[in-house]
Structures are given as structure tokens and as C-alpha cells.
Symmetry: C2
């Protein structure tokens, strides 16, 4: 048995994440100020897509915490819908994505949120399962509800990777 | 000038809120366990409705904190779309709603979330503006993007109410 190849966690940034999905975070300039100037609105920050008669819905995910380093042996994707994860707390969480390589995941990349970011995986993008670190995670999830067809494709990774938080971004 | 009538904040509960919208919170039994048993999914917790060519979108609201007691002199509603507020922190926030009474708001009601709840206002339901208390609030908002028509109706309250947190639910 060989040692898993390490993947180092990096801070979640818009540019590096763009091919996989949307970083839902505050920008520099609000779309509009509302409520007599008391609230800054940043509008329409995620590309939502729900096909085959699916519709947009809001669900909650209550996820057990994972420990670091994290063994990555599974990736999944949803061919019929985008999926957004909105943390209902300020604890950073681990975000793992991979490009597609002829129907299976290519080289995975790992990011840590900064505690004020949500993410939206574009439809059919390979990603790791929801991975809060250290403490239980409560997330609102905006994804596809109802409709026809199989919306889950899983890929087991024969030689697991080890996700390492060298810079303590998730501590 | 008369003293405003007081409205006492009550804990946000599904039954009392049902005529106004959805309390998005964990239930007793998950819809399904996913991710090898590590995550409980509670599916489809909000009635979303977007009309006149609008679509579902995710935005962020960054709102200044309000102090208690809170003077309520404005209610608003969105005739063309539901609006969900998902806190990205665990600080409880104030939720104010009112039934419709022949086109204007009836008697308002005030609730405090418990720090693990989001809310979805049903389409065309009178509600107060987003009111984090004590500390700035960061919320993901799922509401109507694009489309035709005027989606904002405001009502100024001639004799403002005073919202009082007698039980320190928002402290």
C-alpha cells in the first residue's frame, strides 16, 4: 500500500474556483443599498441550473465533522442540478472539487472557506461530500428538488488522496 | 404624541409562523441520511414562488444591527416572489410579520429565531426589513431575480409600534 498523495488546502478564491462553481461572498460594491441605507444587497451571486423538470428548493444538511488530514476516496456530481452550500455558522469548511476528465474526475483541488463564504457547485461538477471540520456543520442547501432522472453520480478513488491543511486555514 | 403600542417578541415556532411563511429548521427525522451516514438531509423546507418571469437566485445581504426595543414604522411585501433569509452566523435575529387586512398590514407579530433557524416569507406577505440585533448580520437570501413588474410594496405605519424583547431572546 502506497502513501496517499497529498493535496494542500488553499484559501477559497473566486478565480481558482470559477471553473467549478461560484464563491458566494461579499463584493466591494453592493448591487444596491436598501432599507434606508441599513442593508447592502449583493444580488444574484450563483448560477443556478435545474433540468429535467426539477425545481429550486431549500433544504438543510446537518453534517458530522471530519478530522484533518482528510482522506479523500470519493467524489460525486449531480448531472441535473447545481448545488449551493450556505453555512449557518462562521466556522470555515473544506471544499473539494475536480475537473472532469472523460467522464471521471481529474486532479482534485481543496479549498478552505474563510467563515463568510458559501459555495455553489455548477451542475455536473465533481465535488467532495460536505465536509465541516472540527465541529458539526449546519448548512442550508439550494439544489434540485423533484423531477425525473438520476441526479447522483459517484466515483470511488482507487488510490485515495490525503487532504492536508498545512496553513491551518480550517483550525 | 402617544406612546407606541408594545409588541412582545416570542420564540419563532412553526405553527405561529405558518400563515406567513416557513421556518427552515431541523426536524426530528431526516428525509434521508447521505454521505455514508455522516449527513442528515432535511429536504424541501420552503415554499418558493417566483412569478412574472422571475427566477430563483441567491444574493447576500449585509445588514447593520438594530437596537432593542425596536421602533417598527415600516412594513413591506413582495407581490411577485417569496423571500428566504438564511443567517450565515448563529446570532438570533428579529422576524416581524403581519397579516394582510384589505391591502394594508394588520396587527404585526414579532419573533426571535433561536440561532439555528432561517425563514422564508411567502410571496406577498407583509414583513419588517431585515433586523439583526446587536451585531452586523450576514444573510444569504433566496428570492426573485429578474422578470417584469414591481416587486416591492411598502407601508409606513402612522403610529409606530415598539418591539420589546421582554424575555431576552435576542440578547
Amino acid at each position: 500500500m502506497t502513501t496517499p498523495t497529498d493535496i494542500i488546502v488553499q484559501p477559497l478564491m473566486v478565480a481558482a474556483f470559477a471553473e467549478f462553481g461560484d464563491v458566494i461572498e461579499l463584493g466591494d460594491v453592493p448591487t444596491v443599498m436598501i432599507n434606508r441605507g441599513n442593508c447592502a444587497r449583493f444580488s444574484d451571486l450563483a448560477t443556478l441550473s435545474f433540468v429535467e423538470d426539477g425545481r429550486c428548493g431549500i433544504s438543510l444538511f446537518q453534517a458530522k465533522p471530519y478530522a484533518m488530514p482528510h482522506t479523500l476516496d470519493l467524489l460525486e456530481r449531480h448531472p441535473l442540478g447545481s448545488q449551493a452550500f450556505i453555512p449557518m455558522h462562521t466556522q470555515p469548511f473544506l471544499v473539494i472539487v475536480a475537473p472532469d476528465d472523460k467522464g471521471i474526475p481529474g486532479q482534485a483541488v481543496a479549498f478552505a472557506t474563510n467563515g463568510r463564504q458559501a459555495v455553489n457547485y455548477h451542475r455536473n461538477t465533481w465535488h467532495g461530500v460536505l465536509t465541516p471540520v472540527g465541529t458539526e456543520g449546519l448548512f442550508a442547501v439550494v439544489d434540485r428538488i423533484g423531477g425525473q432522472g438520476n441526479n447522483l453520480q459517484e466515483h470511488n478513488i482507487a488510490s485515495p488522496f490525503r487532504i492536508v491543511d498545512s496553513d491551518q486555514l480550517l483550525a
